[in-house]
Symmetry: C2
Subunit: 438 residues, 2 copies
């Protein structure tokens, strides 16, 4: 999923001079209060995540929603009700997310969808597919690269190790690289390519006539993992609902996917979208690998994290302690506080900081200190997990294999009711449960 | 390779109102004398096949050139001298041709490249790859086809059986379907897609903004079999020269391929191009599957062939016998005589007919009778061979396997000189000859 590349022009439909720029290729808010997400919801035709919806999710999963939902970080969605309908009726669905492998280690912004997707997979106990778009990263790189996409493919495999550190379920997660799996996706890719024309792709993504045709050919490749028949080893020929957790800039891909799903009589994927993780320099832009000073990397050492936050994180506080105590802090533009909303788990503590920091009772340096500890702990934990990831793990997660579609608790319930009824159960070769009389 | 589909506009660079239309999607001469091929040579920047070149080929292969070359049916080329250089210096090269599987059986026009390619493979004894563009045929079909490209894939497998009836060398021929082999081609496909932009594809193929993006994505798929590293099971990582026998309307694909080869530091493919096989109704258009009255199919019965030629073949003779005897026949527009130049092997007999028919000594009915016999014999022979083709043959030709790159006579010469030198020879696993001391 393209993030840093700005070679393509911002989408024509999305660029207005007095407006935020939000495309898969560029994020640029008009000022330091960041993107106007309410406006984006209207423009994209998404739906906000309401308190009622949050309550319904919590009833379904039997626990509190992730802080990203509670705090409006995952803030809008399409058709998530249909996913909940399926789940409540004990019908399987699956999750799909992805990553465009860049030359750098993941930064904190890249972690957001993976943290959230890991949570979704844990609470719903459903299959997850993760697409590594090594083809896209190669197509978008301005360099000629005479050895072709080999660099992007290798980087993708490194990124898979980072991804595995988030703790996805090894029994229910299939990770694939486009260059490796394309043979299995191609029939769906050309179905999608046949049903979207040049003008539409141009309108959605804002490409220009001098853009390479790989860019025009790629969006269908990102579309097809949203169709369950792209994974016959998991779903057979069935059509199962798909939920896509992603950052909001990826919506153009999935609006296109939903339009075409209708033409192909496939299920339209549901989606749940996050805001952007701000750059250290402020909410005007998101954290980006292409600017090392804007980003905290998952490979950073604790002292790097401390330095970067202390040196670069833009605050909304006063210029002097006196001014800060007198006028308080503008939390809307304050990056350390924004980061705390992403990473501090304790709601009460966060609220306490919010109130005190806004009034000026807490200094920016004190808030930064709390943030540094939390980010350091998160990164150390991730690095520890990353070190344990082996090549064999990568091979396992990327192997084409049957995956159980049903949450274990449904199977357990079924099994116990079957035992009561005097039958035995066994799994068939594609991981579906079969019932046989004894 | 698209032939019948006319949904794409003819290439802008190729269409002028007072001119022939020649694109991969449409052939339309301005009158019944047919396409002005000399003009096409100039426009495309190809080179004529000169008597000197024919003599050089005959010296290299040690036999007379195929009638298609002797009679100017394969009439122009690019870089064929480099192929002859390689052959004369005992360096391997390979042949690449293809077929877009249409719903109908092959017609006589489809046979021309296969007859010629079979001859090339026999006289040079080199590897041949044949691409079945099932993806392209699906992308170009106007129907939605909810089961995707399955119909085109199945048709492709049927077409492979037709193709095998031409007698390709089972030890040196690899046939692949795009939908089946794309996983092996994809890295080269995206290399090509990255190096050609929308404007260029539009200019070369004349696509419109409302054309689906599959059409824009496809030309790179037809390009990459011209690069030997698309077939590592045959060529390893080496770059070997490629010769493409095809009809001249395919040149846009290979002009694009040559441009990009240069950017990628790949070898530019050589090509040798044929004129079109005229429709029964005359040289204004080529034989086409979409008009059954214009075409003789390889599945036609002898009596069908007789009926079609007698009923539909346009002649250049007089309206009455008297007029014909008095004024002779205009061979330029006479379809039966054109067909004889394609299918009658005997040069002297053909010359005799030419002279007598032009003068009016031979009647159109008499020439048609000779033609009918020849076409019937050809079709019966092909049908007999087709009946012997088994599913196992198809599987063999389409299996990904090592193929010997070197002509057998070179290997034999090497072997005998090695034996004289007191060493033994054996083949390694990729079919290359290795020498080991005893």
């Amino acid at each position: 999923m393209a993030e840093e590349n700005k070679t393509a022009a911002a989408s024509q439909e999305q660029v207005q001079n007095d407006d935020d720029v939000v495309t898969p290729f560029e994020i640029n808010a008009k000022d330091d209060t960041g993107i106007d997400y309410d406006k984006l919801i209207d423009k994209y035709g998404c739906f906000p995540i309401t308190p009622e919806l949050i309550a319904r999710i919590e009833r379904a999963i039997g626990e509190k929603c992730h802080r990203f939902i509670r705090r409006g970080i995952f803030f809008c969605q399409r058709d998530i009700e249909q996913i909940l309908d399926a789940y409540e009726n004990k019908k399987p669905f699956y999750l799909y997310t992805g990553r465009g492998p860049s030359a750098d280690a993941l930064h904190m912004g890249h972690c957001i969808p993976f943290i959230f997707t890991q949570w979704l997979q844990r609470v719903f106990d459903v299959p997850l597919v993760i697409q590594i778009t090594d083809d896209e990263k190669y197509i978008y790189k301005p360099e000629i690269e005479l050895d072709g996409p080999k660099g992007s493919i290798a980087m993708g495999l490194q990124n898979v190790k980072d991804i595995l550190a988030f703790g996805f379920n090894p029994d229910k997660t299939f990770i694939f690289s486009d260059c490796g799996y394309i043979g299995h996706m191609y029939q769906n890719v050309i179905r999608v390519q046949k049903h979207v024309n040049y003008s539409q792709i141009k309108g959605i993504f804002g490409f220009k006539a001098e853009d390479n045709v790989g860019k025009f050919a790629f969006p269908p490749v990102q579309a097809v993992p949203a169709f369950s028949n792209t994974f016959p080893h998991i779903f057979g020929k069935g059509h199962f609902p798909c939920l896509i957790p992603a950052a909001i800039d990826q919506d153009p891909y999935f609006r296109m996917t939903r339009d075409i799903a209708q033409k192909l009589k496939y299920k339209k994927p549901a989606s749940i979208y996050s805001t952007f993780f701000p750059a250290l320099q402020g909410k005007k832009s998101k954290m980006s690998s292409s600017d090392p000073n804007s980003s905290i990397l998952v490979s950073d050492k604790p002292e790097d994290i401390k330095k970067k936050i202390n040196k670069y994180a833009k605050t909304g506080g006063g210029q002097t302690v006196e001014e800060h105590r007198a006028n308080g802090c503008d939390l809307e533009v304050d990056v350390p506080f924004q980061y705390l909303t992403f990473f501090m788990e304790d709601d009460d503590l966060l609220e306490d900081i919010r109130v005190k920091y806004a009034k000026g009772d807490l200094l920016s340096g004190e808030v930064k200190m709390q943030l540094i500890k939390i980010i350091q702990a998160f990164v150390v934990e991730l690095q520890t997990a990353r070190k344990k990831v082996t090549d064999a793990d990568v091979e396992h997660f990327m192997s084409i294999r049957p995956i159980e579609k049903m949450p274990t608790k449904w199977l357990a319930a079924k099994a116990s009711s079957a035992v009561e009824a005097g039958v035995t159960l066994f799994s068939d070769s594609v991981g579906n449960m079969q019932t046989a009389s004894v």
